[in-house]
């Protein structure tokens, strides 16, 4: 485990020493503060719109950070040749993959924490309440969703040659899953065999990232979701994370280092 933690530590250091996170965080803050300072049409429910926009920005920013940070990890190690002195030490390729995953995932968790603290503070100025448990449920679910995204991007970084192509493909796949994934079973009903079977299979194979979108829970101040369902969703995410990481380990095992 010490090797995994050592690699993860470097990834986390990289995130807070690069500008990506700060740029996205400041842009999110500025947009939200500008929105918060305007009271359009004297609408009493304006706080909901504000929360909706703020959470949308948090989702987009966290996805951008997760994909771009993960996609460059192993390609950068190869390009800068740091993979050579690293693998010349008593560390296995599997430990390196797990360390990279852990680092990116924890880094995403920390950025998410910053975003949610800001969101909570902004929301409290308008609604004068702190539904901490709701934030916790939404945050944890989003963090596990990011875990799937990070593991998928890590696998992609070993399959596709350039980080940019990997990032683009990951964004398209994530967008596709979030917007179309939930409707695939309905789309399948209007198709003929064998395409119907293919689309149906796709519906069950793709990780349903939309399960982890609990923004409405916070925006509309809905009651908490039962914890057993949250636990099931986290187990579902863990299964996908494990599958993608296993794939990454298998691909990396056969990959030449230079």
């Amino acid at each position: 485990m010490k090797n995994i933690f050592a690699v993860a530590g470097v990834v986390i250091k990289e995130l807070y020493r690069r500008k990506d996170f700060y740029v996205l965080f400041i842009v999110t803050i500025l947009i939200c503060l500008v929105m918060a300072s305007v009271n359009i049409f004297n609408d009493s429910k304006i706080a909901r719109y504000l929360k909706e926009i703020c959470l949308l920005l948090v989702w987009i920013s966290s996805l951008v950070i997760a994909v771009t940070t993960t996609a460059r990890q192993i390609p950068a190690e190869r390009e800068n040749r740091t993979l050579l002195p690293l693998l010349a030490k008593p560390i296995t390729r599997m430990q390196l993959v797990f360390g990279k995953f852990l680092g990116c995932w924890v880094a995403c968790g920390l950025t998410l924490l910053c975003f949610y603290i800001f969101f909570g503070a902004l929301s409290a100025t308008r609604e004068h309440q702190w539904p901490v448990l709701n934030y916790f449920q939404a945050g944890v679910m989003q963090w596990f969703m990011l875990g799937i995204v990070v593991a998928m991007s890590l696998l992609g970084s070993l399959v596709f040659a350039a980080p940019s192509s990997n990032s683009t493909i990951c964004f398209i796949v994530i967008g596709g899953i979030l917007f179309v994934g939930r409707h695939l079973d309905q789309v399948a009903t209007s198709m003929h065999e064998p395409l119907r079977a293919v689309v149906n299979a796709l519906y069950y194979i793709v990780p349903h990232l939309e399960f982890y979108d609990l923004r409405d829970l916070i925006i509309h101040n809905w009651p908490l979701i039962e914890w057993k369902y949250i636990l099931l969703a986290l187990l579902y995410a863990t299964a996908y994370i494990a599958t993608f990481l296993l794939g990454a380990c298998l691909v990396f095992r056969r990959k030449p280092v230079n």
């Binding site: 690069r18 800068n80 040749r81 050579l84 030490k89 008593p90 280092v257």
Partner: protein, 251 residues
């Protein structure tokens, strides 16, 4: 003296992605032995198979046939790398880390305790003359400073064997001299150093024995003075003769 590094009938083949190219033999039946405490120079023209040999020794490339071992352990076992230090050619270390953080990171992988690292890191930074820049990010280092940081990371586990791939490549004369001095100091401390280089002058100055390979095959191995004596010339002339270089005569 005990044998630390050994290859026996080592053969490495690479399959070309292009159909017509077929198989390229990078190493063909390489037999090498490096003994404890010696500085061993590994010479050869570009594409001779030096880096491939090092890649096999470090477990990056599996041999097609034959054997390679470090300290008697098969190089495919990660534990074989516990007692070695490796400096690759031209590496750009993590730019966002400082030299001290870089050494701590690699130290953790070797399982060093905090106390061991607190004691060892300042000593290494002093050895490679980077103590004044230890808190600065590596992105601000010159090429020579990066190479010396690389040398420090190769020494973090106090290795018994150092594998250096063209350690002075791309450095200015001052940088080369500093790296050479460090290798000399390590030799005096009784470390075993296995290094490849194109700088035959420095090889002549610091190596106990050298091996010359060409087109994946071992051509000569022996003490520097013996090779010079056998070819009645300096090491450069001997090297050119061994690889079959014929100077073109101008009309």
């Amino acid at each position: 003296m005990s044998v630390i590094l050994k290859t026996h009938k080592l053969r490495v083949e690479f399959r070309s992605r292009e159909m017509r190219q077929g198989v390229k033999v990078a190493l063909n039946g390489l037999d090498l032995e490096v003994r404890a405490g010696e500085v061993f120079g590994f010479l050869g023209p570009n594409g001779a198979g030096k880096t491939t040999t090092m890649n096999v020794l470090l477990g990056f490339v599996p041999p097609t046939s034959g054997e390679a071992s470090l300290f008697g352990i098969d190089v495919r076992q990660p534990i074989a790398r516990q007692r070695i230090g490796y400096l690759p050619e031209l590496t750009y270390y993590y730019k966002f880390l400082t030299a001290e953080e870089l050494l701590r990171f690699y130290g953790k992988i070797f399982g060093l305790t905090r106390a061991e690292m607190d004691q060892r890191i300042p000593r290494l930074l002093k050895l490679v003359e980077l103590e004044h820049a230890s808190k600065r990010p590596i992105r601000s280092y010159s090429k020579g400073m990066q190479q010396r940081a690389g040398l420090a990371q190769a020494l973090i586990n106090n290795p018994d064997l150092l594998i250096l791939d063209e350690p002075t490549s791309g450095l200015d004369p001052l940088g080369r001299m500093k790296v050479r001095e460090i290798i000399q100091r390590l030799k005096n401390e009784g470390k075993t150093v296995f290094f490849s280089s194109h700088e035959l002058g420095e090889v002549e100055a610091i190596c106990d024995r050298v091996a010359i390979i060409h087109q994946g095959e071992l051509k000569v191995v022996g003490r520097v003075d013996e090779i010079k004596k056998a070819h009645h010339s300096n090491l450069e002339q001997a090297f050119l003769e061994v690889i079959g270089y014929q100077p073109q005569t101008t009309p």
